[in-house]
């Protein structure tokens, strides 16, 4: 054969490669372009609010004074949601992946996925119309018995439309995300590692502690962060459930507000500088979410040496 057999390319085989790599490149660039576009929009639109004289911003004390209470409110609501949802989600996921009989596990997994399919406005309506009313006696009890804690300081809200109620509703909403992602990770635990633990004389729970949870740790963190992302950005449920107001330490009084709900409630009637202010609030939310994701990545990579990937 001549040298041409090495240098000439087979047209048909290479074309597929080129189309595929081109399409993959385009898809990757598109994501970057969209992200950049959104960020650019937020920054450009937010500049008037950030540079305006303090007296012209809502509240009359400047953008920072306006934004920080609702940043705190957002973080509190999301934190409540995660504190409630994470242990339950991990427990449910472990039950499905390692404890439940196979028939029950499949059904339960399906039900959890169904929870994720309920629209957020429905959760909001349920929280406002049902949960808030039913839970207010519990708030009264907390105010009477645990009132010495600033977070349970009375008098409790009579309607029950508090940040704690909003946090509970958010917990129900993020539960399916954390559960189904954790379950997938738990199921991927190498059989070899599970058997290593069992063969040493581990009980089922010890086997889970020794092999399943360490293996799943980065996955659980990712799942929780995705849940946090949803809790931070959730709008409709909070807007319906929370009777908003100024920042208060007590979780069982009305008050507090989240960024997403603040934007949704005020945007329709806003104009001029007010629109700018709300978009600036959106920019802050965007930055918070970005920071949360970067922290999650940092936590995951910090333990790379022990991840089993080497």
């Amino acid at each position: 054969m001549t040298a041409t057999s090495l240098t000439s390319t087979q047209g048909a085989g290479r074309a597929g490669d080129k189309i595929f790599s081109g399409a993959a490149l385009a898809a990757g660039c598109l994501i970057l372009a969209v992200l950049f576009g959104v960020a650019l929009f937020l920054v450009v639109q937010a500049i008037p609010a950030l540079t305006a004289p303090a007296a012209e911003i809502q509240g009359g004390e400047g953008f920072f004074a306006y934004i920080w209470p609702i940043v705190i409110g957002t973080l509190i609501a999301a934190l409540i949601a995660l504190v409630i949802a994470t242990p339950i989600a991990i427990g449910v996921a472990l039950f499905i992946s390692h404890f439940a009989p196979r028939g029950l596990a499949a059904g339960l997994g399906y039900v959890v996925d169904l929870l994720a399919a309920i629209p957020s406005v429905v959760y909001g309506a349920w929280g406002a119309a049902f949960l808030a009313k039913e839970i207010s006696p519990a708030y009264n009890w907390l105010a009477q018995n645990m009132g010495w804690l600033p977070i349970f300081q009375g008098p409790a809200s009579a309607t029950g439309k508090t940040i704690l109620t909003a946090g509970i509703v958010l917990a129900v909403m993020v539960l399916p995300i954390i559960t189904s992602l954790s379950r997938e990770i738990f199921l991927q635990t190498p059989k070899l590692h599970e058997e290593a633990a069992l063969a040493l004389g581990a009980t089922r729970w010890e086997m889970i502690k020794m092999s399943v949870l360490p293996f799943a740790r980065p996955g659980i963190i990712s799942a929780v962060m995705l849940g946090l992302g949803r809790a931070l950005g959730e709008t409709m449920a909070v807007a319906l459930v929370l009777s908003s107001g100024a920042l208060t330490a007590s979780l069982i009084q009305s008050g507090n507000q989240t960024i997403a709900a603040e934007i949704a409630l005020n945007f329709p009637e806003a104009s001029g500088l007010k629109v700018s202010t709300l978009i600036a609030a959106g920019l802050v939310l965007f930055v918070i979410t970005l920071a949360v994701n970067m922290i999650a990545r940092w936590i995951i990579t910090r333990h790379k040496e022990f991840s089993g990937a080497n």
Partner: protein, 259 residues
């Protein structure tokens, strides 16, 4: 601290499928017993019934008796967790816990069931176990590094150290060298020779030379065809099995005339 195992009329099932039929065998204490036979003949399955790891798979069960110095492992009220802490196991592929350091891997079994151990005792135990597995000199300066960073052969010896740290009566090895290079294999075989001074060792191997090198007694398993149960054909002194077996099937297999 080593005990003998006597198996009587053991049938092993996966659901309704009879995988291994009617095995009766005596495994002597402080000796090495090798299981040989073609793929799929049930020797690994049978090995896993000796520390009740077989039943970890859904639907898997056994009928019959496995006596550890006279105590039936499958008797009423026997906890498989206790059985497994007395009968250790080394797997086909090295499986140190990837998130644990070398030291924690060795101590993993010891710390189970809420047992507490002081740092001094732990240090002694780690050194003794790693020396017992011929790994101490290679890892003594990096005990806090992850076990998954070791070579395959070192990882397998780490798994052996982890198994002997709990001072079991018996050590089961399921093709411990099949994923290792010849030099690592030699290291493991030397180790098996040392282990039998203290422990009862049972090893499954595909490699007949290995069985001939390391074992005192050899059991040959065979299978009549796909879908049929595996059976124990013959068991005896390794020398006899390889030079003068009583069964034709054994002779065919050990001399390589096996279809």
């Amino acid at each position: 601290m080593s005990k003998r195992i006597d198996v009587k009329d053991l049938n092993v099932y996966y659901g309704d499928f009879l995988a291994v039929e009617d095995v009766t065998i005596n495994i002597e204490a402080k000796s090495v017993t090798a299981f040989i036979g073609p793929s799929g003949c049930g020797k690994s399955t049978f090995l896993r019934t000796l520390n009740r790891m077989h039943e970890v798979l859904p639907g898997a069960r056994v009928e019959g008796e496995v006596l550890l110095d006279g105590d039936n492992l499958y008797g009423a009220g026997v906890d498989p967790v206790t059985v497994r802490s007395q009968i250790g196991m080394v797997f086909q592929r090295p499986n140190p816990f990837p998130t644990m350091s070398i030291r924690d891997n060795v101590l993993a079994g010891v710390k189970l069931n809420n047992k507490k151990i002081s740092k001094g005792e732990a240090d002694v135990l780690v050194e003794r176990s790693l020396k017992g597995a011929n790994l101490w000199n290679e890892v003594k300066d990096r005990l806090d590094k992850p076990g998954s960073g070791l070579s395959g052969g070192q990882q397998q010896r780490l798994c052996i150290a982890r198994a002997i740290a709990v001072e079991p009566q018996v050590i089961l090895m399921d093709e411990p060298c099949s994923a290792l290079d010849p030099i690592s294999t030699l290291a493991i075989e030397d180790l098996i020779n040392e282990l039998k001074d203290q422990y009862t060792v049972v090893i499954v191997t595909h490699n007949m030379q290995q069985a001939a090198r390391v074992s005192d007694r050899t059991a040959f398993f065979n299978i009549a065809g796909t879908g049929k149960p595996g059976k124990l054909i013959e068991v005896g002194d390794t020398h006899t099995i390889f030079s003068n077996p009583t069964q034709k099937a054994t002779e065919d297999y050990v001399s390589g005339r096996f279809g």
